[in-house]
């Protein structure tokens, strides 16, 4: 059967030998939105970096039935939109326009199509008027939205976000949650923001020490005090 993301027995150790992931297995269906929580150093970011082949570990990772390996990298990276935590790392071009055009340009699309994609992606995050702007003049909330637009322009199958609400003031956070709710895409969101998880995601995965320790309905897991405190989480 077709899964958006399918991970089987994935293990990974950093060059210094420190193991970061141990036999992680996870399946995500099309259009499902899943939250990934756990303490710092649990391996969430490492797992995310495997989804588009920035890191290649032992085991199987498939995106839309396509195995993530060297020959498929270019296609995979167009299918998985990865948004990093710090928008100052994600937005590396002089202008917003250049940044949103970067992905489509490297997909080898014709110029007219690239321009259309940029427009559509900026419209999708409600930032149409920001094309000519310079990234360092933007607020944190604006940067986070543009960062999402930079991957939407590639028209990915799956959206993967690392800490989307970190560092936002309440209003910007609210706007971002609304945006995530409206986007009709498969989503895997790594976060510490359990209030958002409760509000937005029906399914939640808890990681600790490089393993998946729980995977189930958000409402049930968030009511399991023992489980939460065992992994350094607090009930919202």
């Amino acid at each position: 059967m077709h899964h958006s993301i399918e991970i089987k027995q994935l293990s990974f150790a950093y060059p210094d030998g420190h193991p970061a992931l141990e036999r992680v297995s996870l399946k995500i269906e099309p259009c499902e939105k899943v939250a990934l929580v756990g303490p710092n150093g649990a391996g969430k970011s490492t797992l995310i970096l495997h989804l588009n082949g920035i890191l290649l570990g032992e085991g199987v990772v498939q995106v839309c039935s396509l195995p993530v390996d060297k020959p498929n990298l270019a296609r995979i990276r167009g299918m998985v939109g990865l948004v990093f935590q710090n928008p100052d790392d994600q937005l590396f071009s002089p202008t917003v326009y250049d940044d949103v055009a970067f992905g489509p340009l490297y997909q080898g699309l014709p110029d007219a199509e690239v321009r259309q994609r940029v427009q559509d992606a900026l419209a999708a995050v409600g930032m149409q008027d920001y094309a000519g702007r310079v990234s360092h003049h933007l607020s944190m909330g604006e940067k986070k939205r543009i960062a999402i637009a930079t991957v939407l322009s590639m028209q990915p199958e799956v959206l993967v976000l690392d800490e989307p609400t970190a560092g936002l003031d309440p209003r910007a956070r609210r706007g971002l949650i609304r945006l995530l709710d409206e986007l009709p895409l498969t989503m895997l969101v790594s976060t510490h923001d359990l209030h958002m998880v409760k509000e937005l995601f029906t399914r939640m995965v808890i990681m600790d020490n490089g393993c998946i320790v729980a995977d189930g309905l958000t409402d049930e897991l968030l009511n399991d005090e023992a489980l939460l405190s065992a992994h350094g989480l607090e009930r919202p």
Partner: protein
């Protein structure tokens, strides 16, 4: 806390701002070259050059005061040319006694000194108008148009983007240093430590800045790779220049040529 002051661009609705950056860059470079090619002491033509420059400043709506103040930046360097006044050849304009030394003011030397100072002054004004009337991303477009290698343009773009991010970080480091550089309550302790110690603190700050830069470049690389980056630099093609741009470029070139001709032929 942001170091916006680093960005010299000043938005105005002026004609100079609206001019295509490619034309603006080429005209600026040509103006500076024209100035450099002027024979020294051609004062009437110098005044014409100044008139052209001031007109552009007026048109740019940046404010003459603003441009003049910024143009003072280059003045300290004038010191390097000062000896000319006293060591130049030819007739003397007079002598002054400086203690035991007799300083002879050479007339060609003085003229050359003033020419250099003047040329430098209007050249820097041209550069200021270019930088303050053109957003940097548009300057990058202009650099591409004059065939700057793409790899270099890409480095320029990244550098400019992270200049502000790292300058913010540096400012935080400097404030942290200042916050801990108090004077001891015991009166006789000299504040500031030895020069060696101060250099070590500063060097440590530079080191941590570089370390963070390395780590950041790793994360940027991952963000780039996630969007398909493969080590090659790709950019959207530049829009075509309109005929009116070519007319402006041509007119500027003719003006410079005429000025040069006046200076050399008259």
């Amino acid at each position: 806390m942001h170091v916006h002051f680093l960005d010299p661009y000043r938005p105005r609705p002026s004609l100079v701002h609206q001019l295509d950056p490619r034309i603006k860059l080429v005209l600026t470079l040509s103006f500076i070259l024209t100035t450099a090619l002027m024979p020294q002491g051609a004062w009437p033509v110098y005044i014409l050059l100044l008139a052209v420059m001031i007109s552009v400043v007026l048109l740019s709506e940046l404010g003459t005061g603003f441009v003049l103040k910024r143009s003072a930046l280059a003045f300290p360097f004038v010191l390097a040319a000062l000896p000319l006044v006293f060591t130049g050849p030819g007739p003397s304009l007079g002598e002054t006694m400086l203690g035991e030394w007799t300083l002879r003011i050479s007339q060609p030397g003085l003229e050359r000194f003033l020419s250099i100072a003047f040329k430098s002054w209007i050249s820097v004004q041209a550069a200021i108008v270019l930088a303050t009337s053109t957003p940097f991303p548009q300057l990058l477009v202009a650099l591409r148009a004059i065939k700057t290698p793409r790899l270099l343009v890409a480095i320029f773009g990244l550098m400019w983007r992270y200049l502000f991010v790292l300058a913010d970080e540096t400012l935080r480091l400097i404030r942290a240093r200042a916050a801990r550089s108090g004077v001891s309550a015991q009166g006789e302790v000299k504040p500031g430590g030895s020069m060696l110690w101060r250099a070590r603190v500063t060097g440590g700050m530079a080191g941590s800045l570089f370390l963070r830069a390395f780590e950041r470049s790793d994360r940027i690389y991952m963000a780039m790779a996630s969007r398909g980056y493969d080590g090659e630099v790709r950019m959207l093609p530049l829009p075509a220049l309109k005929p009116v741009h070519w007319v402006i470029l041509g007119a500027g070139m003719v003006l410079f040529a005429v000025l040069l001709a006046i200076a050399y032929l008259l």
